[in-house]
Each structure stands twice: as structure tokens, then as C-alpha cells.
Symmetry: C2
Subunit: 206 residues, 2 copies
């Protein structure tokens, strides 16, 4: 979260840094497994840490939720750059859109928390957009310039469209289980996504 800023008084203790990371990682796992409403204690235990430690870094439960969310937004946005480096533009675009779709699907539970009215989450939508829109815009532009995708699609529109697709296709809640209906819904979602991607890359417009 916060780097070594020159002006900062003291270094962060090694164990503290290690634990902060462990907590974030545990929270990510637990949120995915048991939903965003999972008890703080469960996260602390998974991280192999006492609740006190967790609360020192994240004074409110919502702070932890926000931190995990931002961290995953960062990771997903960062993947855009990686994919752009490792693949031809059209392919990078396709892959990232699938990656993004997966992000949305796994954040379903969180999404409902966002609209819960808790002011703690007010900043998240902006964070979401300000990271994803440029990330996608770059992929889109590169693909368009290479003639590997149409150029008349707005990044934000696409983000929203896929977001809607994905939320419509997943059962509400945010747990992870092996619910078969859930899997069918997912398959359907990914099929629709592929349709959009194909349209984007090979559609009649240029």
C-alpha cells in the first residue's frame, strides 16, 4: 500500500510488513471462499495473526475490504500491461477482457456491499474506473492501430457492458461453492463474453 517515502520518519518493521501482506492475502482468499461478510476472526486466523494485529493496520473492517478491493483492481489493471507486452494487440485485448470478466464475477459479493450505502466504499467506484478505463483504453487503441479490433468502441462502455453481463450471469451472494447452476451461469457468461470479443475483433466495422 504505502512505499518508502523519503520524508517518512521511521522504517516499517519487517514483521509488520510481512503481516500486512499476510492479512491482505488471507482476506482475499476468505472473501472469495466465504463472501465479504466473513468474520474478521476467520481472516486473522487464516493469516496466522491475532485480531489485534489485523486491527492495527485496518482499524475498521471496511478498511480491509477496501484494501483488498484496491489491491485486486491494481493487479487486474497491471495485467493489462503485462499482456500487452507478451501478446499481439488483439490477443492481449481478448485475454484481458476475460481476465476482467473473471475479476467482476469474483467481486459480485463486494459489488452489493458497494451499493449498501456505507460511506466507507464511496471512493471505490472512482478507483475502479480510474484504473480500468485507461488500462482498457490502451489495449483498445493498440489493437485498433494494428487493425486487430474496431476502433469505435468506448472503453468505459465496454467495461460497463461486460460488468453487466457478468453480474447478470452469476448467482448473488459472493460465496464460492460448487453450485452447478452457478457454473452454468458462468459458462453462459463467458460464452457471451467471447461473442463480444469476437465482435470487437472481427466484426464488420473497422
Amino acid at each position: 500500500m504505502q512505499e518508502e517515502i523519503p520524508g517518512t520518519k521511521k522504517r516499517i518493521r519487517a514483521d509488520a510488513a510481512r503481516n500486512e501482506d499476510a492479512v491482505l492475502e488471507a482476506a482475499k482468499t476468505v472473501f472469495a471462499t466465504s463472501g465479504v461478510d466473513a468474520p474478521v476472526r476467520e481472516i486473522a486466523k487464516t493469516a496466522g495473526v491475532g485480531v489485534g494485529t489485523l486491527y492495527r493496520r485496518f482499524p475498521k473492517r471496511s478498511d480491509l475490504v477496501v484494501a483488498v478491493f484496491k489491491r485486486e483492481v491494481d493487479a487486474c489493471a497491471a495485467d493489462a500491461k503485462t499482456l500487452a507486452k507478451d501478446h499481439p494487440p488483439g490477443e492481449a485485448l481478448s485475454r484481458w477482457l476475460r481476465r476482467y470478466c473473471q475479476f467482476i464475477v469474483t467481486k459480485k459479493g463486494l459489488a452489493s456491499a458497494l451499493h449498501s450505502g456505507d460511506p466507507a466504499f464511496d471512493a471505490l467506484p472512482d478507483y475502479f474506473r480510474s484504473n480500468f478505463e485507461p488500462a482498457l483504453q490502451n489495449l483498445l487503441s493498440a489493437a485498433a492501430k494494428a487493425g486487430e479490433a474496431r476502433s469505435d468502441i468506448d472503453a468505459y462502455d465496454l467495461l460497463r457492458a461486460i460488468g453487466n453481463l457478468a453480474s447478470a450471469g452469476s448467482t448473488s451472494g459472493g460465496k464460492a461453492g460448487d453450485d452447478p447452476e452457478h457454473h452454468e451461469g458462468m459458462q453462459h457468461t463467458y460464452r457471451m463474453l467471447d461473442l463480444m470479443i469476437d465482435g470487437l475483433r472481427y466484426g464488420k466495422s473497422g
Copy 2:
């Protein structure tokens, strides 16, 4: 809630009936004042009743929320009939739409509960629509027949439109306070509503 059905074994005890009503009334008040997340104890105390009494009638907190919601839907829908009896068709229509708008505004907190994924609330949207759509349809038809409103508007569309208007204009949460911004938003909402009503009654179409 449940009437005297001939097949029923025993009569409901008088104090029980009285208390059920007191609880519903108290819940309505408390939800309006402190939001739908208000503690059960506060509702019980307001009703002048122990929590045990409350829980016998409403085994889950959500049961109480649902009951209050339905009761207010009933009340609002019933007002449509009353207004139709006491006013000329166009006027009845106007008045009821304002009444409905007020209903929506005060149920903002509840609305977010609806989309919380809790299956306890799954039946509410249907209840909402199946009561309000016919109620409005009647007013609309009567007004149209009397030449006091245009006839090309769908009842459900109108319900949704006003619903959106009202939710957009109110600050999230569902509390009641004297927040001045909230009041401004409300004024704006009602101004927009009046615009729609005027369009409905005096617009160019017949």
C-alpha cells in the same frame, strides 16, 4: 396479516393481536427514524413489548421487515381506491403519484436491503408490482376515459420511472434526520415529479 379463516382451530388471543399491531406500528416508526438496520430491541421497546413477544410473531428479523413493507404497500395501494372515490380522476391520479413517490422515498433504505441478496426479500418485488400496477392502472384508465390524462402510458413504466426519479434524488441510507441537502434533493425530486404529472395530464397527446 391473517384473518379469521373458518378452518382455523382457535381464535387469536386479544393481547396477541394487539401486540402484533403495536410491533408493526413501532417497526414502521423505528425503520423510518433509524433505518431498516435498527436493532430489534429498539423496536420491541418502542412497541412496549419484550423481544420474546416480538420473536414469537416474527421469528426472523427479516420477517418483520417484510411484514412492515407489505403493510405499507397495502396502505399505499389502498389509498388509490380512496383517492379515486374522493376526487375527480385526474386529481386522484396526481395525488396518488405523489403519495407513491413519498412511499418510495421513505423506503430507500429498504430498497438496498432488497438487493442485498437475502432470499428473505425475494418475494417483495413481486408483491410490490402486483399491488401497485393494478392500483395505478385503474387510476390511469379512469383519468384517460375522463379525458383527464393521456392514455398511452404504461402503469409499470410509470412506477419504475418515478421509482428511479425518487431513488436518484434521495441520499442513501434510509435514516430520517434533518439533513438540509436531503431536503434539497427531495424538493428537486418532487419538482420533477410534478413535471411528469403535468405531462401526463396536460401533455400534447390525448
